[in-house]
Amino acid sequence: MSGCRLGLRKRLALNIFSDLYASTVREHRLDTLFWECTLRCNLACRHCGSDCRVDPGVADMPLADFLKVLDEEVTPHVDPADVLIIFSGGEVLVRADLEEAGAEVTRRGYPWGMVTNGMALTPERFGRLLDAGLRSVSVSLDGFEREHNYIRGNARSYDRALDAVRMVVREPSLSYDVVTCVTGAMVPQLEAFRDMLIAEGVRHWRLFSIFPMGRAKDDPTLRMTDAQFRDMLDFIRRTRREGRIDVSYACEGFLGGYEAEVRDQFYQCAAGVSVASIRVDGAISGCTSIRANYHQGNIYRDRFWDVWQNRFGPFRNREWARKGPCADCRMFRYCLGGGMHLRGDDGELLYCHYKRL
């Protein structure tokens, strides 16, 4: 349990951060808006938290509906240059009008980015997306060929993702990172995989782990043991000290003694505090990794800005999460019950990172 231990200096800093974060919550300035523009996907990954498939039975949201919300409910209240729009899915590249969406968002002054599995990213399409103002991309690459293709369920997916990575790292105007969902099978290979990424010119790498939602919750081959989880964090800490690649663990959960050593900042869940999403069916929520029903409204029924300003109570006051294993946990002050995406529909905690340490 050595990973749990917090030194005095870090504990003092965490107390200060908690106070500062409380004022950020009070302010709840919107700085990231996800648009879940489709649930369609050209893959059917084993670990998909969104349970996406080729035909999800849910229609894409028309671009005009999203733009109407931007124009009427967001732009009047923000400086567009300050709000990052992220197109998410599903796989965003299955939308034929993605370039049009990007161009419209850019025309309104918003920076935008997207997350992709790279399957459909040809050089021609990449060029058109850049012309449409694309500013940031995350490409999913879950390991070497065998591991990646196993997770993605497609024999060509590794090659396509790697091609996408090569395109992205060579475009100087872009912010980017490679995102890796680490499974138990990948833990012993992380050093070799890191070296391969460095050799490919990758400078920014983000790791996360399976959380028990969507298809992933039923697949034990994807999970890490607690020991593997600690090995992964040790690897990230070690790699950050070496400084050859900017690597970090995702914003998933509170990490005790690893805090500020595997990420640049202390743990915080920004969902509903500075991050909102508009789901494919119009639902308004926090970040798109939250699959349980914490919807705060719907753009087809409610005014987005009114929802953002006056609802989101469960996101901004997490006292309700002080129950179950969190009821008497001394770390609650720092983690506030963990990420919203780790809570089920009835509020139960699905997974505690700290307890794995």
Binding site: R9, K10, L12, A13, I16, F17, D19, L20, Y21, S23, T24, D31, T32, F34, A81, D82, L84, I86, S88, P111, G113, M114, V115, R135, S136, V137, S138, R170, P172, S175, Y176, D177, I198, A199, G201, R203, H204, R206, F208, R240, G243, R244, I245, D246, S248, A250, C251, E259, A260, R263, D264, Q265, F266, Q268, A270, V275, C287, T288, S289, H341
Partner: protein
């Protein structure tokens, strides 16, 4: 305790970057792309990326930092404004 004092205390403890609530990204993408062994880590430019999100473009990050810490611009950047004389010489 006010916000500035808290930030100063965090800095004293060596955790000023970790306490930032601005989503940041290292600045030097373009400069560092060509060198295989360049040290990328830059503790003064922390970042968090939302779980399913993307890295915040540098221009957006800098703008947010300026908003959050308007008085933390480098003195060099502030100096010309302070020294510029008005047309009337006041």
């Amino acid at each position: 305790m006010n916000r500035k004092l808290k930030i100063a205390l965090a800095a004293l403890l060596g955790f000023s970057a970790a306490c930032s609530s601005v989503k940041n990204a290292p600045k030097d993408d373009g400069k560092q792309r060509d060198a295989d062994t360049t040290v990328v880590k830059n503790p003064s430019n922390p970042r968090i990326v939302v779980m399913y999100g993307v890295r915040v473009p540098d221009s957006v990050r800098i703008k947010r930092m300026e908003r959050q810490h308007p008085d933390s611009l480098p003195p060099v950047a502030e100096q010309p404004r302070e020294e510029a004389s008005t047309p009337s010489g006041e």
